[in-house]
């Protein structure tokens, strides 16, 4: 805005002003179907001295009034303009200016030292319905007027202001500029031509203003005849002519993607034409590319400003998409919203960048889970079917049936999930997996939101949490548990950050911390330290709003994992059992690139990014050092992704052309793209495969005693479902022939039978056991399955007497042991300590829920 202008603009010029007023040439451009004589009459009624020269651009205008001349083209008209003419008023022949329109234009353009001024356009034949008061655009040139449909002119926009462009229906341009730009692009329709001309004007150093005091009624015949795909094509051409090569390098692919998305969205609205329009516009531009390049060359000498000048008045995102999705959501919401209360707000919803990010992230999650949705969950790595609820709880309380060794604590959580009425256990597992994906996105968004971030990155960072530097490795190795733990981690960390506007009592936060702490520790016990570490780092790096109490309370959740950890501490500390997954060195570089520019700013984003980078890089360092067992490996890799997600949240918080900021955003964007590549494999990063199906022959061929156990061995650790044990040159484990279920992923604490089996396998591995089937029979091993490349066991089992090779699978070597005996029944029971700890974890959970409920009740 420059200044209020109404009074001077509406005043008649004084005699003195007449003497000094600049000379104007009116150029009437033809519009098919418009009444040229009426237009000339309106021009003739203009109160402006000296009387403007009038030129009609028309090949055959018929009889013209005295003093009105004809030219063949606009360019010709401009070129033929005398030096003593200061301004050209380019006017459509379907425009009907008020008598003072020209005077107001000239006055305001002069006053504001503008190069181009546009009139306020009102729809002809309506009670002052606004058509345009100058517009902003998005980066693709799509006009964004901010006007509601049918909005009446109540002088609410009557302020002279700089705008991105003005319509070509009525615009006043400096003669020298017009001659430099050689007028409007004749291949463009009116709006695009106006946009193109306005852009060029601004890039040439001129100001473009909207002059509301200059009112022009516009019949809009030009739009009727020349809208649609031609406008799209014109905008594209305007982009190619106006933007620098660097901008074009990203804006054209971006435009193509937006066009595609918009076309798809319109197809959902049963509209085919937009898709065809996009196609035609791109084709048109391809055909006229030489002409466009010529235009670009012609404009180059005039250009004085960079693209930043254009970006100044551009709206974020895509106006087209926003409107289409707004309509889509309106259609969807209207099913439930008969009075359209929500629909009225939907348009504004789509202008929130955070929600854009959320929508995109959720879409990626759903697309990334397509194979799971369509084909079911993989049964590989540590992703295996849940036990039925009752069995899961029994296992959680009593441990393994044969040894009473405690099971992984997440078995109990899965027991709860299995109780939910979501359908079959497989459906529950599928929904839980997708739910964890969505929970991760939502969790990262809410965590960043609590810090005060509102940009699109806060939800997009959820994709990094699910597919970032560490977790892509561990889920790629089949760890469903890591996926679940990762999705809970931002929620657990969030309990340590309290929003200034949050008036809930502290006990509510502590309650949530207890609940989420139990759940997080159940899936990944070592991660329970992360909320506390995050809060400490946050405070250390100068952040506010953090509280240690909830983070400390979350630590109590560890009680749920204590039986498992006490029975098998090697899971945390035995580095010989580590997963051995190491992230590529590209990731630290990207994290630093995304973080360092933010660290030079003074904002919450800086602290947030610093905490994230510290966590992520520390996680990557620890994973390289191989300091602990699989539990530590799992936690450090999840933390690496979590920290990277925090960095991305901050990096994409707001987009700017400031180089350092741009570099940070670029690195953050690369992290997001790489993460999407990992998440987008159809299984949210989990690998493909079904071990249970591959081993189903055991159940099929079982006798009345059941299928017994399957000894799976391979030199490739990844071929072994769940945890693997080392043997002489290979990995192995026993798998239940009925199919592996979730709790079997983790071995029970090693016992004497495990040592005996290891000794037997060692003897078999040396080749000295002529009857390995007899040796394996006491362990109920009915099948031996060798996977991966041939190895020692393949060699030695070629020359033995009692394991029978079978052709059941072409990819694995399967041998049957006819001598296998069922395992003797045991009546093992959990220790009292394990049961007390299990009950203790229930108490912590109940206490947490109680605190949350109590705080709500008090409020």
């Amino acid at each position: 805005m420059t200044e209020a202008s109404t009074p001077p603009a509406t005043e008649a010029p004084t005699a003195q002003e007449h003497v000094t007023a600049p000379r104007v040439k009116v150029i009437l451009t033809p519009v098919e179907g418009a009444d040229l004589k009426a237009a000339l009459a309106m021009v003739g009624r203009q109160v402006y001295v000296p009387q403007p020269e009038v030129v009609v651009v028309h090949p055959d205008p018929g009889e013209l009034p005295v003093g009105v001349t004809r030219v063949g083209s606009l360019e010709e008209a401009i070129a033929a303009t005398d030096q003593d003419i200061s301004y050209l008023w380019i006017l459509h022949s379907d425009a009907r200016p008020r008598p003072d329109a020209l005077s107001a234009l000239v006055t305001e353009v002069e006053r504001n030292e503008a190069a181009l001024g546009g009139s306020k356009l009102l729809r002809a034949g309506t009670p002052d319905v606004l058509e345009s008061v100058g517009s902003a655009t998005d980066v693709f040139g799509e006009p964004y007027s901010g006007l509601d449909e049918g909005e009446i002119d109540l002088q609410q926009y009557d302020v002279v202001r700089e705008v991105a462009f003005v319509g070509s229906a009525s615009m006043l341009v400096r003669r020298d500029l017009a001659q430099g730009l050689k007028g409007l692009d004749p291949r463009m329709p009116p709006v695009a031509a106006g946009l193109d001309f306005s852009q060029k004007t601004r890039l040439a150093g001129g100001r473009v203003i909207s002059v509301p005091s200059s009112e022009v009624y516009h019949q809009d015949r030009c739009q009727e005849k020349m809208g649609g795909w031609r406008e799209l094509a014109g905008r594209l051409r305007a982009m190619v002519v106006g933007y620098s090569p660097l901008t074009l390098a990203w804006v054209l692919p971006y435009d193509f993607a937006v066009s595609l998305l918009d076309a798809i969205a319109n197809l959902l609205l049963l509209r085919v034409k937009p898709a065809l329009d996009y196609l035609r516009s791109w084709l048109w531009n391809l055909v006229f590319l030489p002409s466009t390049i010529g235009q670009r060359r012609r404009f180059r000498p005039v250009r004085e400003m960079g693209d930043e000048e254009l970006f100044r008045f551009q709206a974020r995102g895509s106006v087209r998409l926003r409107e289409t999705f707004s309509e889509l959501s309106s259609r969807f919401i209207s099913v439930f919203d008969e009075d359209q209360a929500l629909v009225r707000g939907a348009r504004r919803i789509w202008t929130a960048p955070g929600l854009w990010g959320a929508g995109l992230a959720v879409a990626v999650i759903l697309i990334g889970a397509r194979s799971i949705i369509l084909g079911g969950m993989p049964n590989i790595g540590s992703s295996f079917p849940f036990e039925p609820g009752r069995e899961a709880f029994r296992l959680w309380f009593d441990g393994w049936a044969d040894s009473s060794s405690p099971v992984h604590p997440s078995v109990g959580v899965n027991g709860v999930l299995a109780w939910l009425p979501l359908g079959s256990l497989e459906t529950t597992r599928t929904l839980a997996t997708i739910g964890f994906g969505l929970l991760a996105v939502l969790g990262m968004g809410r965590l960043a939101g609590r810090i005060g971030l509102r940009g699109p990155g806060r939800y997009l960072s959820g994709l990094v949490l699910l597919g970032g530097p560490g977790i892509m490795l561990i889920t790629g190795a089949g760890s469903w548990t890591a996926l679940a733990a990762a999705s809970l981690l931002p929620w657990a960390v969030r309990t340590g950050f309290i929003h200034p506007s949050d008036t809930r009592p502290r006990r509510a936060h502590v309650g949530w911390a207890l609940v989420i702490g139990v759940l997080l520790a159940a899936f990944s016990p070592a991660l329970i330290a992360v909320p506390l570490v995050s809060a400490i780092l946050w405070m250390l790096w100068g952040g506010k709003r953090a509280s240690l109490l909830p983070a400390l309370a979350a630590l109590l959740g560890t009680v749920v994992a204590l039986p498992f950890l006490l029975a098998d501490p090697g899971w945390l500390v035995d580095s010989g059992r580590r997963l051995g997954l190491v992230s590529p060195v590209l990731w630290p570089a990207l994290i630093v690139l995304a973080t360092v520019p933010l660290m030079l700013r003074d904002s919450q984003e800086r602290v947030y990014a610093t905490v994230g980078a510290s966590l992520s890089l520390a996680g990557l360092v620890v994973s390289r050092l191989a300091l602990g067992g699989p539990g530590v490996d799992e936690a450090t890799l999840v933390v690496a992704s979590f920290g990277a997600a925090m960095v991305v949240s901050a990096g994409l918080e707001s987009l700017s052309l400031e180089p350092r900021r741009l570099l940070g955003a670029f690195a953050a964007a690369v992290i997001v793209i790489l993460s999407i590549g990992s998440v987008g494999n159809g299984r949210l990063g989990l690998p493909e495969g079904d071990v249970n199906r591959a081993l189903a022959f055991a159940e099929t061929l079982a006798d009345q005693d059941g299928p017994g156990m399957i000894l799976v061995a391979s030199t490739e650790r990844g071929d072994i479902p769940g945890e693997a044990r080392p043997a002489s040159g290979y990995w192995y484990r026993l798998v239940d022939g009925r199919g592996m279920t979730y709790h079997q992923v983790w071995h029970p604490a090693p016992g004497s039978a495990d040592a005996e089996l290891e000794a037997v396998l060692d003897r078999i591995s040396t080749g000295s056991a002529l009857r390995p089937g007899e040796a394996l029979a006491p362990f109920a091993v009915e099948w031996v399955v060798l996977s991966g490349p041939d190895f020692r066991l393949d060699d030695v089992l070629r020359s033995q007497l009692d394991l029978v090779p079978t052709p059941l699978n072409t990819e694995m070597r399967i041998l049957e042991n006819p001598l296998a005996r069922p395992l003797p029944a045991t009546d093992a029971a959990a220790t009292d300590l394990d049961r007390y700890l299990a009950l203790g974890s229930v108490l912590v959970l109940v206490a947490g829920i109680g605190l949350v409920a109590a705080s709500r009740w008090v409020r």
Binding site: R624, A727, G767
Partner: protein, 458 residues
């Protein structure tokens, strides 16, 4: 604080980049391999032939003998070797099995099994095989007139075996579909009758490559009622020793299992000591050369075969028809699976073959010698031919298993001795230095050779 944070982040990033990876966790180190304590023997029962298996061991312990055919174990018997270190089993007492394979599961590796097949006019002996090979070789077969040759492939294991055979005779490589992808089902013997498949060939050599599974092989040659049996052995050695008993009609066949030419040289250990590079030449790919040992000496001696590539030497003798493969090992301890044949009469005294007998052997032809023996009432005699290939003198002690009496003989460097021994089902030969031992049995014109089984030192 901002600077501190920047430093921390950059340091962490540097650490995450430069710290070497912890590496993939590895399974336990690979254990060394051990052979299973077992042996596989070809067995023939019926048609006037019977088989006796001699199970020898340096330890007392249980053993198990089973025969396999048609995919299953057709019979088995549990054995106890006992303190004598020997148990002999006549297969006819186990089952009437025909031509099959038999498997002996032994108490430990320091054991040996031999098989002796006797017919109306024949005797054939060979040590049983204990190690399946991926590629093995046999040479010496002939299907010329009155000659019969068959290859006995034995698969005692639970998985099927598939083999490809490259057969070469005097006419070159024999291309027959029957020789490729030959399936030997689990627990089954497969006899390839070359008399039918390749009649009229005098020089058959076979390279057997195992494509799948594991297998053992032995050859059987028959001629004029006599028969011989010898093992197909691993085709990988180029240094062999072949003790040679005194007598006539002996030849040495040296086969080349590989697909390239091989240069070879033979050294002779004889009465005159070691004669280096006595002969030499080139063996064609998959082919063989034949060396008339009588031309070198009719006395007991030994041949060392050295070649530039893998070769397999086979000692043969006619007309008694005896075959055995040489030894690619030297050892100080040998088990000699032998056989106490019916009607054998022991010589009056163990010991080196008397000079006068050797001389008689020099002067008389074989037939006349046998007649003389028969006239003297010595229908069967057993001999050990012991070679000391090293440059130090050794003292060799030998005893028939089950007997307490131990005999000793001093053996000079690079010397050979031939000793008449009491007929027994097995012998234990010990020496103060590495030696090679061959056992010979002769009975009424029939003869059999068998290289002993070396035991690892210690």
């Amino acid at each position: 604080m901002r600077l501190a944070a920047l430093i921390v982040v950059v340091l962490l990033a540097a650490a995450a980049t430069v710290i070497p990876e912890g590496g993939q966790p590895q399974p336990d180190p690979l254990l060394g391999t051990e052979l299973p304590a077992m042996a596989v023997c070809p067995v023939q029962e019926g048609a006037g032939r019977s088989t006796r298996l001699m199970v020898l061991s340096t330890v007392d312990g249980p053993a198990r003998l089973s025969s396999f055919a048609g995919g299953e174990e057709t019979a088995h018997v549990d054995l106890v070797i006992g303190p004598e270190g020997l148990v002999a089993v006549d297969m006819v007492d186990v089952a009437a099995v025909g031509t099959v394979g038999s498997l002996v599961e032994l108490p430990m590796l320091e054991s040996a099994v031999g098989t002796l097949v006797t017919g109306p006019e024949s005797v054939a002996a060979e040590s049983c095989l204990s190690t399946p090979r991926q590629e093995f070789f046999i040479t010496g077969g002939s299907t010329a007139s009155e000659e019969e040759f068959e290859l006995h492939l034995m698969n005692p294991y639970s998985g099927e075996a598939i083999v490809d055979m490259v057969v070469r005779s005097e006419v070159g490589i024999e291309a027959t579909a029957a020789f490729s992808s030959l399936v030997v089902p689990p627990r089954t013997s497969h006899v390839v009758d070359f008399t039918r498949v390749l009649p009229g060939r005098e020089e058959i050599s076979i390279t057997i490559a195992v494509q799948k599974g594991a297998i053992f092989g032995a050859g059987r040659q028959r001629s004029d009622g006599a028969s011989a049996m010898w093992n197909a052995v691993a085709a990988g050695q180029n240094n062999w020793h072949v003790p040679i008993p005194a007598g006539e009609g002996r030849t040495l066949l040296i086969g080349n299992p590989s697909g390239i030419e091989v240069d070879f040289q033979i050294d002779h250990f004889g009465p005159e000591g070691l004669e280096d590079a006595l002969q030499g030449g080139i063996i064609e790919p998959r082919g063989r050369v034949e060396i008339d040992l009588d031309e070198i000496s009719i006395e007991a001696g030994a041949i060392r075969v050295v070649a530039t590539g893998p070769v397999v030497p086979v000692l043969t003798s006619r007309p008694g028809l005896a075959y055995t493969t040489g030894s690619d090992q030297v050892a100080t301890l040998w088990l000699i699976p032998a056989a106490r044949l019916e009607g054998v009469e022991a010589p009056e005294e163990d010991g080196e073959v008397p000079e006068e007998e050797e001389e008689a052997g020099d002067e008389e032809n074989g037939e006349e010698g046998e007649e003389a023996e028969a006239q003297e009432g010595v229908a069967t005699r057993a001999r050990l031919v012991i070679l000391n290939p090293e440059i130090d003198d050794v003292v060799v002690s030998y005893r028939p298993l089950g007997m307490a009496e131990v005999n000793e003989v001093e053996l000079g460097a690079e010397d050979v001795v031939e000793i008449l021994v009491d007929p027994a089902d097995g012998y234990l030969v010990e020496s103060t230095g590495p030696i090679v031992v061959l056992w010979v049995i002769e009975q009424q014109g029939a003869a059999a050779f068998s290289i002993g089984v070396p035991l690892p030192d210690g």
